[in-house]
């Protein structure tokens, strides 16, 4: 777990370096007349210093100051499946339409955790898609994509 602290600190130092690099394209101005790049560059320098401080702290302590329980393989699968499903929803939403995309989203998310029986999954997914469509499209007036079903 101490390794995670070191990786996080090194990652932050890298991010700070990248921000300083990108800020070169912006005009810094001067202390009298600070311009567009003034604040990002100052923050980039501050972040480098803080990240180095965190790196030193992580190196000095033999145990991590903060740690959470390790994630088992099953946990990673659930997390990965959930994220992939949500990303897939975002990509197909405007093509398939809200109703169909929501139905598929619910089917996959319900199966991602506990794999209830298929009839239960279909019923819950269908009811959720219809109720949420009614709530958002009609009650709240949110414009939702119609997609291939045209609804």
């Amino acid at each position: 777990m101490k390794r995670l602290d070191l990786i996080a600190a090194a990652g932050l130092a890298g991010l700070a370096g990248y921000i300083l690099f990108e800020s070169r394209k912006l005009a810094f101005g001067s202390l009298r007349v600070p311009q567009t790049g003034f604040f990002p560059r100052a923050l980039g320098i501050l972040l480098v210093l803080l990240a180095l401080g965190e790196l030193l702290r992580a190196l000095r302590h033999s145990e991590p100051v903060f740690s959470m329980e390790k994630i088992a393989g099953e946990g990673w699968i659930r997390i990965g499946a959930t994220l992939a499903t949500m990303l897939g929803f975002a990509l197909v939403l405007e093509w398939l339409g809200f109703l169909l995309a929501t139905f598929l989203l619910m089917v996959l998310l319900l199966r991602a955790i506990e794999a209830p029986r298929w009839p239960k999954v279909f019923v819950v997914a269908l009811v959720t898609a219809l109720l949420s469509y009614g709530l958002f499209a009609y009650l709240l007036g949110v414009p939702l994509p119609a997609g291939i079903l045209g609804i």
């Binding site: 932050l12 994630i71 997390i79 959930t82 319900l110 955790i113 949420s132 414009p143 939702l144």
Partner: protein, 476 residues
Amino acid sequence: MNLLFCFIGALVGTLVGVLPGLGPVGAVAFLLSITFKMEPASAIIMLAGIYYGAMYGGSTTSILVNIPGETASVVTCLDGYRMARQGRAGAALGISAFGSFIAGTFGVVGLMFLAPLLGRAALSFGPAEYFALTLAGLTLVAYLSQGSMLKALIMATLGLLAGTVGMDPISGEERFTYATLTLRDGFGLVPVAMGLFGIAEVLENLVVIGTQSVYETKIQGLLPNRQDWRDSAAPIARGSVVGFFLGILPGPGPVIASFVSYAMEKRLSPTPEKFGTGMIEGVAGPEAANNAATAGSFIPLLSLGIPTSAIMALFMGALMIHGIQPGPLFIAKYPELFWGFIASMYVGNAMLLVLNLPLIGIWVRLLKTPYVILFPLILLFCLIGVYSLNSNVAEIVIMLAFGVIGFFLRRVGFEGAPFILAMVLGPIMETSLRQTLLISRGSFYIFLTRPICAVLIGLTVAFLIWPTFRRKSKSD
């Protein structure tokens, strides 16, 4: 119509508070997108209802399940759950509801008097004062964070950097947009908040899916008896005052208020060793404190235009979406909005008292909803909420990205609250700093010559060096 929105907000807030997994920040972020089409007064009334409703609802799970519905109810688990185990769940729930009502009413009265006063005082604030105030606020939030202060400062710095994405507030030049339309408006507050607090929380809960057992007891007698009132009166009074003033300070006001109140009651009690075994004072005081703090936390936002916590940052976002700038002139320019909001808080507190007591049975049944059903619904609401902002799929991707970042950062002890607060304060801070340097011709001495600035900068330095000083004196 506003009464209806107040009721909806209070109901949703109680639901959010009862169900672990989605806190008031995530709920407000989600409903923010829906308030676009509403009148500003209705929007703010509903969102405020969610905030103080969650404080009421959070105590229900603490008492019945020993799991806090939201962070400010952590302390209620200590004695509240023990009372439930002793067959006194009704008394615990009842005193929690009544105490919250009394404290909430006290907080609203305090808000009514203090906000206009502070607003008038803030008219003398210039850019230097605003920069010093935002700097002190962020430093205090980092100081009060539950984890490492260094990590909180890193998150605050990242939040300030995230706030620079988009258009420069002074020159209008693009920064870090990579020629994309989405990033030209910067990272949206709603996608980032829902990612860091909603998605990250759900991913964390997916690590281990457990079932929670609700303590099966017949809840009888929700009205506290005379002895309960005698024992609780002073803790409620003390919790109300302490909570209200702690709520004004930057940081997670209700959380800190509940812990301080518990510690205070334990210290003042003739039987401190009994705390943790089912003392009603351990429920009454903290629950009063966290509700009073919710009212207090509105004061800096409405009178100074400075949000002091993640949820206040979202409220500020809600006001700005409707073209309303909170600050010293807010009460003078929008008196109907301010007084309507105050009135709604009175009414909302009464509604919550009515909602929480008779509907306990329904909340208990909801608690038994398996997480396998709950989490897809939470995720669906997050996805639709973000999409409904601008019908932009890219914002869903931003939310997911921040969800993943938030999940991993939490695993190594980095909290989301300093980030979101800094992201909202960033533009104010940058504009104030650049204006100050223009006025002072590049001299930082201006921060020491103006009295309010000097005090705030002094406080900032104190917050930064105090942890080091305390560590040294401990090792000596």
